[in-house]
Symmetry: C2
Subunit: 163 residues, 2 copies
DNA sequence: GCCGCATTGTAGCGCATGCTACAATATGGT
DNA sequence: ACCATATTGTAGCATGCGCTACAATGCGGC
C-alpha cells in the first residue's frame, strides 16, 4: 500500500490520539477517496501512455469523464505526491511509484473484471462495476476470487469474448 | 463574442440530473459519494434504532468512526433530503424514505456479505469489504451473486430476507 | 436550587472534487 | 509571419466531509 502521509498540517495542535504520520488505518474516508482517485488517474494515465504513447490532459479528462480543469488540479496533487511528473504545457508522465501503483491497480482491476465475468456478468457491466469495486476488495477477498477463477476455469478455456 | 450569461449552477434550483442522453455516463463522483454516505448513515441509524431503540448522535459517531460534528452536519443534510427527522437535542428518526433506503441498503449489504462468505472469505473480512463494495455492485452483478448463491447452496443456507 | 458533565449544536478551518469563465501557450493552416 | 483553433493553465465558486474549539442545552449529583 503506497500511502504517503503528509505530516501534520496543524502547527502545534495535534492531539496524539494516533500518530498522524503513520496513520491512515482508521476510517479516514476522505483520504481513502483521494487514494482511489489517485489510482484511477494513474491507471488511466498508464493506459493512455500504453495506447497513444503519451497522456495528455484532455484525453485524460475525456477518459475520466471530467473537465480538463479537474484533471489538471488532480494531476498537480499527484505530482505533489510523487506519482507523476509534468511540465507546463507538456504531457503527463508516471514516476516509478506511479508506474508501480498503476501496475497494481491494473492487475487488481483485471482480476476483478475477470471474476465478475466468470460470475456471469456482462463484460461492460463487469468493467463498470470493477471500477468501483476494485478499491474495496481486500487481499483476502481478491485471493478468494482467484481461487474461484482457478476452480471454475476447468476446461472452459477463456470465456467467450463478447465485446 | 463570448457568451457571458450562464445559468449553470444555482444553489437553489433542482439538480438537472436528467441530462442529455448523449453523455449519460457522467461520472458525478461527488454526488455518488454523497449517496453512499447517505446509505451508510441511514443504515447505521436503522441499526442503532433496532439495537438500542434510538439513534443518538454520539452513538452514530462512534459507530461510523467520525466525530459527532460530522454526524450532525451530515444528518442535517439527510434531513434536508427527507431521509431523517430530528429536533434539537433529540435523537434521530428515519422517515419512510429513510427506512426504505435503509432496508434496501441492508438487503444489499447482506447479500454481498453472504456472497463473499460463500466465496470463502472470513466473516469479518466479508463484512468489512461489503461495506465498501455494496455501493458499487450493479443490479446485474447482484443478481449474478444471488444466482451463484442459489447454485452453491445445496441446503446449507439461511434464507436471505429480501426486504 | 445549583453546578458539573455529557450530549448536542455552531463557528471556522482545511482539503478534495467538481464546475464555468477566462487567460496563456502551443500548433497548424494560409 | 500571422491568425484561428485547440490545448493547457489560472481564478473563483460551490459542495461535501473531516477536524478542533467553543457555546448551548439537558440531566443527574450535590
Amino acid at each position: 500500500m503506497v500511502l504517503k502521509s503528509k505530516n501534520a498540517s496543524k502547527p502545534g495542535s495535534p492531539p496524539p490520539k494516533s500518530g498522524p504520520e503513520t496513520a491512515v488505518y482508521q476510517r479516514q474516508t476522505r483520504l481513502q477517496h483521494a487514494q482511489e482517485r489517485a489510482q484511477d488517474y494513474v491507471e488511466a494515465i498508464a493506459e493512455l501512455i500504453a495506447g497513444c504513447g503519451e497522456a495528455r490532459a484532455t484525453d485524460l479528462a475525456k477518459s475520466l469523464g471530467v473537465t480538463h480543469v479537474t484533471v489538471i488540479r488532480t494531476v498537480q496533487r499527484l505530482q505533489r505526491e510523487g506519482l507523476v511528473t509534468t511540465q507546463p504545457y507538456r504531457s503527463i508522465f508516471l514516476t516509478d511509484s506511479g508506474r508501480t501503483l498503476a501496475g497494481k491497480a491494473r492487475a487488481r482491476h483485471e482480476k476483478v473484471v475477470t471474476f465478475l465475468e466468470a460470475l456471469g456478468v456482462a463484460k461492460s457491466t463487469a468493467r463498470a462495476d470493477a471500477e468501483g469495486i476494485e478499491h474495496h476488495v481486500s487481499d483476502e477477498t481478491l485471493k478468494a476470487m482467484e481461487k474461484f477463477l482457478r476452480s471454475s476455469r476447468k476446461g472452459s478455456g477463456k470465456p467467450t469474448r463478447t465485446y
